[in-house]
């Protein structure tokens, strides 16, 4: 009994470790799974996510690709159609634009265009987001664009549990799933249950309960939104934090359920404001909970500039705790 009681129930790890464990588990569980992308093998992954996996699984299943985003993403789609379960890694969301044709015109359309005959069970992972002084071609948050596309599921794991658990569920999904890993989260450390396993990829989650205002966010913005909620608590304001987790299809029930309770909403999105995911969330709240609102929905988004390099400019371009607090105070009546 004592041995069991003493056995650790959690392990300290990073978000990066959690993603790697998820890939490892998927490779072990299903021989149809393989990982393919730029520098995923010998280099160990641009962000060291796949380090060690080449030695463990060999070059056939941990497959380095040339810098041919369209071809290897398309090859992932073709392999999925032909019975495999590929995990395709794209180094950053900005590079994914070179494969947008394959994602939009093939992955998202084949099932419908073929009258239900050709499903595409591919998982495409990529890094998104800013905060690392990588400037205007490595730092954008374009997941909102992808969330515009019917036919795909768009995920934004923001916790260790989701980094660990979303991949397997995504691989079991018969249709294309895009996973956006915010680069600023890779070094996030915490305790993860040793028996952590698959999680749902259909619902949003309330990460902190509250009654006065709903702070609705996802991905790289979750930690600072939670920080803002903590600061609001010190001011006597009870803020609820909703982590969208799944950007398409949006979990309206959780979003609306929170707003109906708090009567106020602030959407925090690292993407740009115009024509954005934050606009979509705001519109749904207005459509479905207008009469429950005590104030207009507020949004905190990135400044509408290509992401600059200099640290002070990059920080100024991104939503920060003070800007989230300012928006929350505004909807609370200043």
């Amino acid at each position: 009994m004592t041995a069991l009681a003493d056995a650790p129930t959690t392990v300290r790890c990073t978000y990066r470790d959690a993603v790697r464990e998820a890939i490892r588990e998927a490779m072990q569980r299903d021989p149809r799974v393989f990982l393919m992308g730029e520098d995923v093998g010998m280099y160990g992954g641009c962000f060291a996510v796949s380090r060690g996996l080449l030695d463990e699984f060999g070059p056939e299943r941990i497959r380095d690709t040339p810098l041919s985003e369209s071809a290897f993403v398309g090859a992932g789609i073709g392999a999925a159609v032909a019975g495999m379960r590929p995990i395709v890694e794209i180094m950053t969301v900005n590079f994914s634009l070179l494969a947008l044709d394959q994602i939009m015109n093939n992955a998202a359309t084949l099932l419908h265009m073929s009258g239900g005959q050709f499903a595409v069970p591919v998982v495409i992972r990529m890094t998104t987001g800013a905060g690392r002084q990588l400037a205007a071609q490595h730092s954008h948050s374009l997941e909102g664009w992808y969330a515009h596309i019917p036919g795909i599921t768009v995920l934004a794991p923001a916790t260790l549990e989701d980094a660990r658990g979303m991949l397997w569920t995504a691989l079991e999904d018969p249709d294309p799933v895009l996973v956006f890993e915010n680069g600023a989260l890779y070094n996030m450390e915490g305790e993860l249950a040793t028996d952590a396993g698959p999680v749902d990829i259909a619902t949003a989650r309330v990460r902190r309960g509250g009654t006065d205002v709903s702070l609705i966010t996802y991905g790289g913005m979750l930690p600072r939104t939670l920080e803002a909620a903590e600061a609001l608590a010190a001011e006597g304001v009870s803020a609820e934090v909703v982590d969208l987790r799944v950007l398409r299809p949006l979990d309206d029930a959780t979003i609306i359920g929170s707003v109906v309770k708090t009567h106020r909403a602030v959407v925090v999105d690292e993407g740009w404001r115009s024509g954005s995911l934050s606009a979509e969330v705001s519109a749904r709240i207005t459509e479905q909970a207008f009469w429950d609102l005590d104030a207009p929905v507020a949004r905190v988004c990135s400044a509408e500039v290509p992401m600059p390099y200099a640290k002070h400019l990059e920080e100024a371009a991104l939503p920060q705790v003070p800007s989230i607090l300012a928006a929350a105070r505004e909807v609370l009546g200043g």
Partner: protein
Amino acid sequence: MTAELTRDEGLRLLHEMLRIRRFEERCVELYSAAKIRGFLHLYIGEEAIAAGVCGSLTADDTVVATYREHGHALARGMSARSIMAEMFGKVDGCSRGRGGSMHLFDASIGFCGGNAIVGGGLPLAVGVGLARKLQRSEAIAVCFFGEGAVAEGEFHESMNLASLWGLPVLFCCENNLYAMGTALARSEADTDLAVKAAGYEMPAWAVDGMDVLAVHDAARRAVAVVREGVPVFLELRTFRFRAHSMYDPELYRAKAEVEQWKVRDPLDTFPALLRERGLLDDGDLDRLEDDVRAEIDDAVAFADAAPFEDVEDLTRFVYSEVAR
């Protein structure tokens, strides 16, 4: 090889080409009658390619074609009924009316579109080839595309990847000399397309695409190589006798050029060759024409009678119908 041609084989190839030709001619009528709408790209003039290549494949192989794919679909074994019903926008069409002329699909015969993004099908075929290699399968992927696709990055990326990884993919470039209205010499610095494959260390041949026996022979040889895990590039030199689509006024090419190519019409030259060898007589040709006419009449009647998809089912198949 041509010396070994049997009567059965000759009649089979002729039948296949005739089906495609007459099917396409009927499509023109049906387009004028507004039964078929949208873009309609005819394969008339290029029949020898689909007939010659598809006749060299086995049931397990996968075909990825373009938006000018009626011929490939027919030659691969898709029923004229399901193709015609698709173009009529009916639920009994191969893609339940969601694809139309440019997006014919049939999983039961490994026919994966109908891709209307020039070059967009090549990465898919590479992926199918990758799957077959990982599955230790004998099956191959065959990708048809026009010479216009050679200018796309996806062509070069796909050729490189297939060769680098030793994937069983047959690249069939149908060079009909015009990418819509742009002549090859106006879009490629080097118009010898087979040479491009050399940059990827890939075996490649240029083939007379107006000669069904030459195509069939080249395809058989190529398929044998591809099954060993070596991708092959075939440049099939051909010509479309009709406009690019029903909207094309053909301002970019001279009528004389079209007439010059029509002299090499495979639907004239191949029957003549068969007659010369004593493999075809008037009765055979009449019978083939009758068979084809009956098949197409039946397909049109089927398409006409078929129902439309319920509008309530509009959003079906955006995602798979499974419990989540």
